[in-house]
Amino acid sequence: MTKKKTSAKKKRSRPLPYRHNHGRGHCVDLLRQLSAYIDDELPSDICREIRRHVGACPNCEVFIASLQHTVTLCRHRPAPQLTSTDRMNMRRAILDAAHAR
């Protein structure tokens, strides 16, 4: 009895361990398919399997969210625009070069 209590105490005082050892097994398999998952390109049974895995693996859940955020940021990164002077100068340079050839 005493032994059991001690071991329970010890367990509580330790930080929570990873649910999986990342770099192995399901987590790496999942990593290979994440873009297809985010882009909704996987069959429904594989999506279900991924969701089940993610439900049991907080690290994979965080990882998927971080990849989704990355893609979202890329999709929304504004691009610079040309000034009308740049547009005009470039057009002139292109036509000059074309006529010189």
Partner: protein, 192 residues
């Protein structure tokens, strides 16, 4: 030689599109302008042979992509290594999440943070060219994997493989950066 009107229409309708693509590929203004000029010069000369089998924008993206590859070959020091999935497996707890301020913000609001924009741009710039092109065309220009394949001369499977590695690379670069939260929205022009 083309009718000037025909070229002018092509230029007027697509120069912003190609400049945006060029800037995303090259990462800086002067190189992007060079690429735009090279693209439209080639288009000017090839317009008579364009039969409309692809969309004209796809044709221009293809010309720009090839011109970009040629221009890069002339430069030294461009990273060309392959990216493997295994190198993106996190090895410590801190590597799983992005340390960036996005909670409760729309992507547009998050990108008002200059530090975040710079981190994103630097991550994309660090990508080996073939991966960067796949990411820019698919995730930034918003083309389908099929269109990206047509432009890059790849099948869809290869496009998706490159895109996936590119996304993992950018994610890892961002997760390695701690980005501070700016409450004010005065951190600069979001286009810069």
């Amino acid at each position: 030689m083309q009718e000037p009107d025909e070229f002018d229409r092509l230029y007027r309708d697509h120069v912003e599109l190609i400049y945006r693509y060029a800037h995303r590929l090259c990462g800086e203004t002067e190189a992007a302008k060079d690429l735009v000029q090279e693209t439209f010069l080639n288009a000017y000369q090839g317009l008579k042979d364009f039969r409309g089998e692809a969309q004209i924008s796809t044709w221009l993206y293809t010309i720009a992509s090839r011109a970009c590859t040629r221009m890069r070959r002339r430069r030294k020091g461009q990273p060309k290594h392959e990216l493997s999935i295994e190198e993106f497996v996190p090895t410590s707890e801190g590597e799983f999440r992005l340390q960036i301020p996005m909670d409760g913000l729309s992507p547009e609001e998050a990108l008002e943070n200059k530090e975040l924009r710079q981190a994103l741009d630097q991550a994309i710039e660090k990508l080996p060219p073939k991966y960067r092109m796949a990411l820019v065309l698919r995730d930034m220009e918003g083309l389908s994997a099929k269109e990206v394949g047509t432009i890059m001369g790849l099948n869809e499977r290869a496009v998706k493989s490159r895109l996936h590695r590119a996304r993992l690379f950018v994610r890892r670069e961002l997760s390695a950066r701690g980005i501070t939260h700016h409450d004010d929205h005065t951190s600069g022009d979001p286009h810069s």
